[in-house]
Symmetry: C2
Subunit: 114 residues, 2 copies
DNA sequence: TGCATATATAAGCAAATCATTATATACTAA
DNA sequence: TTAGTATATAATGATTTGCTTATATATGCA
């Protein structure tokens, strides 16, 4: 079947991580976009530390990457992630969240530097 | 893309449920087999209530089904589950656990009634 | 240099999770 | 009916999780 079989432990860890609504939406948004922390704060209407903590978890296992640009740190999906295919398959079954970014643009709170 | 898009909340719930090593292995085993509670107890070397509680969670959201046969209750994957395709995609990326059943057979602890 | 902004980290707490032990229920067989 | 086996449920406790508030760090700009 697939050549990229993920050990059960590893798979369970990834699924648990994605098994949180906020993180799942984050990752779905990052599938087609690069977002900074403050955008997530705006989208999820939660505190900045809460967002940072979610991102750290995603970063720790390697699903997302960060890149600093000036004051901002932009996050993106790490498509070279060992188990990216698992993430990809899952995301294919989750509805697009682009409207969340649309709302930011209408607010004028979308960061579009660089 | 897929017609079976799962609402984000629902998807997160499913992923969280599968984000546990024991449950993920259970579901993987049930992909191609029907197993009873006592087999899982043997396989996972844990208490019977612990197994029952995992199975209840899986049953509550509809991923697995139960069927009583005499004293035993056999569990199987519910392939008519609303969001079976998500489960299926995930399982495709998880290695087969058939060796666990092989061990039971060698032990003589595999239930093969009916 | 000093202040503002963006982000990360630390500490603390409430809620959720997962195991355990004890008990109840359902079925089988004597 | 009684004893034994398989399973479910309840109650409890330790651990984990995800938030909050407070603070630290990094950058940009006056």
């Amino acid at each position: 079947m697939s050549e990229n079989l993920v050990a059960v432990d590893k798979a369970a860890t990834i699924l648990k991580l994605l098994g949180d609504k906020t993180r799942l939406m984050m990752v779905k948004l990052l599938e087609n976009n690069t977002c900074c922390v403050c955008e997530f704060v705006e989208i999820f209407q939660t505190s900045q530390p809460a967002i940072s903590q979610h991102l750290r978890k995603l970063r720790d296992i390697g699903v997302v990457m960060e890149e600093r640009k000036g004051q901002w740190i932009f996050y993106s999906l790490n498509k070279n992630y060992d188990h990216y295919s698992l993430v990809e398959q899952i995301l294919q079954q989750v509805p697009n969240q682009e409207h969340k970014l649309k709302e930011l643009e209408e607010n004028g709170t979308r960061i579009s530097c660089c």
